[in-house]
Symmetry: C2
């Protein structure tokens, strides 16, 4: 596993493509994330990002009989993701060939669109959405905030990756405005609940994993099945209304405090681009049960950043997550539950041990007891109307390159 | 609202159809539930049940230009459900015309299939699945069992319909075998969790509501929107592994204890068939917040039954549910969350005040402290491998008729 984090030691491969790549871009040939885009006035279709361009794959493969072109002329990645790892590799190999051999430049010209001339769409048709809670630092912080007199981690936390189902129908693509949710809230000091817009609107910096290959009902997957079923990763902002959540969540978990919106980045980075980012999970004590044993390293060395109105307010690091996405997959199916193409499961808030590594305002302001001061001098406990949130991430890529996840953004709209 | 429960006071309408209807059938012209079926060797398509036959709607409407025939030649009800209440009414009216005028008998002969010659499929493509917790008797029983020293109902329960998201991808049609799930369990007396097949496999008798018409993200629905968006109702068995659930569910709610399977009946009874079953919610104290006010009665007067290996072990009554399905819909969207065609939301376990009205083994055996004795002399605390579970329901229909929901069945298969 590559541990050469930070700068690129060798730009040679990046420069092998005939597509102009901006200096410092994390969208070189080693990345090639997939998304769904629409040229002006045209229908959404599948594309792959290279530099600041997107290649229309249905058009690029129109006369390539060895590639199933039909899976790309669609408004989601699902049909392509369902083709499985061998097909994913063939397509990726062929894309690299097309983008490196300048003989293709003229033929592909009309299939290559400048990014600023297209609209990006939700890249996947979300089947089931599950949200985990896999950061020990986050779970510990939340425990300290809400149960200050008790052990921060609940008894089950180190035995299994705690998770729950979220609302698939309100997963939206980056840049979709988020209307501040209204609902019932009751502070501990109130006698009765009141109704109104959430006064504690928050973000959660997360990483999402997208299933390509379905499994069979009644047959669990193992951690070793991860790369055979999971297609890639993206960024997730799990918007959270803390006041609504605090009142509703016993005994069946979060519901309306989360279900108003979950934003994801438009680019799905394939696992094939993340081979140099793979890293083992931290030491797990107690040793997980057999079905959770991590035989191959599938934690990821991602540097995340949370921006609020352009200021970086946190830099969470994914590599410190306690449970890996392969362990989450094995746990999610150990009871026989099947996965489907388009299933999205997210890591839960990514928080590190340092204060500036916390991936939610809840933790950064300790539930509003402290405040963040932004560059314009204003302060925040939770989000204000008009606030613009942005989450980014990079990972080490092959040949010393850098893999950019792009971003997931959203602006808060008044209720 | 019709309150003539029980026997039919007037069989005239039932006998108006030229299709032979068995004596006592609850599938007369007043019911006409929709489902998806496949004749031998043919593709699944939409049908309507009449007596012990199913009418192939794409075939029946093949030469009816006023009906959009294309929505029926599909493997789910979703396209038809999306057409909305005016179209639902037109189709229902036209079906009644076809089935009452014997001039159509010869032309429709090949579109009418005996039920025992077809295969029934999952009737809807499930978008999001939400499970509520709307029976006061059930929530009180669960509180008494798990928190014997505290107030049975948690503080939020009478202020809002508590609910959570379940797994859409493992919603299966009646008669699908259910493999006993394995997972982590830890009894309070154990020091550490153990792994194995659930020793407390249970059922939950529920009623499900299916959304036809989608709503807009950011715009809540009201209780008055219920009949404009919800297409119909079905039976739900929310299989539950109590031991897995008890260990995993803090703080984010049930996950693997539920997600291995949720069974639904193959027939969706349209709301139009349930007009005589409508009944107000019981007195609600405290008065619900404005957005939960029930302007029209949408609780339902359903008599349910739970059978275990052919013995009726409980007879829950839906009309005693505390929160109506219209209140659930308003609550589910009050934060701006949208609904989609195919969304399924279930009531939660239906339990009444009497012991024989409890809709789960957890309650019937008080978490195994007592046992049920079946007709063959065997006893049960929870389900054994090979056990066959069946849930049925009937409601008062128009003209003194009886509306039969059919059944949802499932056999437990060894892990």
């Amino acid at each position: 596993m590559g541990k050469e984090r930070g700068g690129r030691k060798d730009d040679r491969r990046v420069n092998e493509t005939w597509v102009p790549i901006p200096e410092g871009s994390g969208f070189g040939l080693q990345n090639l994330p997939y998304g769904v885009f629409a040229p002006a006035g045209a229908e959404p279709r599948v594309g792959v990002r290279i530099g600041d361009h997107v290649l229309d794959l249905a058009a690029a493969f129109a006369d390539q009989p060895e590639i199933d072109n039909d899976v790309f002329a669609r408004p989601s990645l699902n049909a392509f993701m369902a083709t499985g790892p061998a097909a994913w590799t063939s397509v990726r190999t062929r894309i690299v060939e097309l983008l490196t051999d300048s003989a293709h430049r003229d033929a592909l010209g009309s299939a290559l669109h400048p990014l600023d001339e297209v609209t990006l769409h939700l890249p996947i048709e979300v089947a089931d959405y599950v949200d985990f809670y896999a950061s020990e630092h986050h779970a510990t912080n939340v425990g300290r905030i809400f149960r200050p007199d008790a052990t921060p981690l609940l008894p089950n936390w180190k035995h299994l990756p705690v998770g729950y189902h979220g609302r698939s129908g309100t997963v939206v693509v980056s840049d979709t405005p988020v209307v501040r949710p209204s609902g019932q809230r009751k502070a501990p000091s109130d006698d009765t609940p009141s109704f109104g817009p959430s006064a504690k609107l928050d973000v959660e910096v997360e990483v999402g994993f997208v299933v390509g290959v379905p499994s069979t009902l009644g047959t669990p997957l193992t951690t070793a099945d991860f790369a055979g079923h999971v297609f890639g990763a993206c960024l997730v902002n799990d918007w959270s209304a803390r006041d609504i959540q605090a009142w509703e969540y016993v005994p069946l978990g979060p519901f309306l405090g989360k279900s108003f919106a979950t934003s994801i980045s438009p680019w799905i980075v394939p696992l094939q681009a993340l081979q140099d980012a793979r890293t083992p999970v931290p030491p797990q004590d107690p040793e997980p049960m057999g079905y959770l044993t991590e035989h191959e390293a599938w934690n990821l060395d991602l540097d995340l950043a949370l921006e609020l109105n352009g200021d970086v307010v946190a830099r969470p690091q994914y590599r410190e997550m306690y449970w890996s996405p392969a362990q989450m997959l094995a746990h999610m199916t150990v009871n026989g539950a099947s996965v489907r193409t388009g299933d999205l499961y997210a890591s839960g808030t990514v928080s590190g041990p340092e204060k500036q590594q916390r991936g939610s305002l809840l933790e950064l302001t300790w539930n509003g007891a402290e405040h963040l001061t932004l560059a314009d001098g204003s302060t925040r406990a939770f989000l204000q109307d008009g606030d613009q949130v942005r989450i980014t991430a990079t990972a080490p890529g092959a040949d010393g390159s850098r893999i950019d996840f792009g971003d997931v953004t959203g602006r808060v709209v008044r209720a």
